[in-house]
Symmetry: C2
Subunit: 324 residues, 2 copies
């Protein structure tokens, strides 16, 4: 039985809790929260501890801590703290900062004889795997990553900051035309606009200037200006009824030639719940990290460094007999 702590109990933390319950070899041992007193009111059967002072009562055993906070402010701080105490898993997804974060976590984990898997989940994570596999199996090929259809929290937040907007939900939508071009064996160069469009649902203040809101969202640099954007105004009821879920997904496609033969690899996720799926991936990584540390492997890892069999609840013999 692998004893797991969840650090941060938002959408992702709840997804991890559910995944721990679905797996027979893992158990939720503790929750760490920044507001433990508040959380204790809802959670009675699991020890709730403070993220700020992660001291462990003697009767609690934790094999792996799964960090479920945000990549901007939580994980860069909590990763180094928790890697001193436990094996860790996180889903740090600021792609450009991964090399620096890796080095920091690698040093701390090694020093404390722990094992830390960073940047796990589906992207970064599974999609990283598929990009590396595609590139390794098809030398000189080209990789394409499409996201969606799904909710982007960052883009939703950005739209929410526009004056007159009460709430907003942004869907990233891959362009069928681009997907089909790659699927048909072409190896095109796409502009940003050709790969994705952005569809925004806005709940506006009653007397807001809708044209102005649309213009501000559509022209927002970094977030929206490079895309074709569709802004739809909806009611509070519609927002709640149709846009409360957090679906996501996407495609990693690799297109290349061996000699004159076209070879195309395609990986696709269709996720009705992004946090639940990500939670499920993190729990598989917790199993791998536990096994890696038990075998004397210390330091930081990404999913690129994990032998696939270690993620599985089945034994190596079973995998060879039933999954090959």
């Amino acid at each position: 039985m692998i004893n797991v702590a969840i650090v941060g109990y938002g959408n992702l933390g709840r997804g991890v809790k559910q995944a721990l319950e679905n797996n027979k070899d893992t158990k939720l041992a503790a929750l760490f929260s920044r507001r433990p007193e508040k959380l204790k009111k809802d959670i009675k059967d699991i020890p709730v501890l403070s993220t700020e002072k992660p001291l462990l009562p003697e009767d609690i055993k934790i094999d792996v801590a799964i960090l479920c906070g945000g990549s901007k402010e939580d994980t860069p701080v909590q990763g180094p703290v928790f890697a001193k105490l436990f094996n860790t898993i996180d889903s740090f997804d600021t792609h450009a900062d991964i090399p620096v974060y890796f080095k920091k976590m690698d040093a701390i984990a090694k020093e404390n004889k722990h094992c830390s898997v960073i940047s796990a989940g589906w992207d970064p994570g599974i999609f990283s795997l598929e990009r590396v596999y595609g590139d390794a199996f098809l030398t000189g090929s080209k990789n394409y990553t499409f996201w969606g259809k799904g909710v982007s929290q960052g883009h939703s937040d950005a739209a929410r900051k526009v004056e007159g907007v009460l709430d907003a939900r942004q869907y990233t939508v891959p362009m069928d035309n681009a997907l089909n071009k790659v699927r048909s064996g072409e190896i095109p160069d796409f502009t940003t606009r050709e790969m994705h469009k952005r569809v925004v649902y806005v709940l506006a203040e009653e007397n807001a200037d809708r044209n102005k809101i649309t213009k501000e969202i559509t022209e927002m640099p970094n977030y929206y200006s490079a895309y074709n954007v569709e802004v739809n105004f909806i009611t509070a009821e519609e927002m709640k009824k149709n846009h409360s879920a957090l679906p996501h997904g996407g495609f990693v496609m690799t297109s290349g030639l061996t000699g004159k033969s076209k070879q195309i690899l395609e990986y696709r996720c269709q996720l009705e719940s992004n946090p639940e799926f990500t939670g499920s991936v993190l729990v598989a990584c917790a199993r791998a990290v536990y096994r890696l540390q038990q075998a004397g492997n210390y330091g930081a890892f990404t999913m690129l460094d994990i032998p696939p069999a270690l993620l599985s609840p089945h034994s190596a013999d079973d995998l060879r007999a039933h999954f090959m």
Copy 2:
């Protein structure tokens, strides 16, 4: 530079040769053939040696031998012989015999401080990876493997043995209806017939009884009787023009629930040349096996045991910076 020998120079061997030329860190060092004298007439620039007596001249260095013979008669014999001499890669694909073959190769490789990757390619191989990943990431999910559209050599050979048949080519075709059911989030149980159909192109003797040939193929146990089969009679010219290539491909789909949310993973290969793609996968495995042995890992491995990063020509730093 990783020095690679090819053992057996048929379709797959030629695919491996091409892949070695496409990769900057690998080099073809020697060819082993059962008929070396014959092959020497065509291949002048590479040493051609005998599979029967795999003795190596002193000036040839081989890091990895890639076995490219058949799984029925060649690999079970050549695997143990070559694992004594070199690190090896093979694409042994008799699924039911993999556990026994693994144990045999593991013992020999360990004894000789070599590393042997068995059953590599796309199925077994990449599809095995995707089945294991899908099962690990979605506990309690169901896995579906569809093959095709592509040529099955075994089924083509079986059709060729029917009286009156001069040549035959069998395509395995996945049923769109079944694919779309899984893609839509259903988790159905399929009969064999519901997942694939078999389409056969036959070149018959001039006076052959076509109805009898059709009946014999369609009703052939193990190979055809469980499927809907379509038999088409064509001319020698059509056979050569339209059915000389060896395309293949397929799908691994994983469908499961986390809580009440449907989560669907789909992996797809579209291969214009099965042997060229398989050759390319085997060369990536040769890179991994070389690195594994250099790091002191001896014994047999499958692709399930290989950290993905080891397959890549790029450094771990590059992968973290550019592929995560």
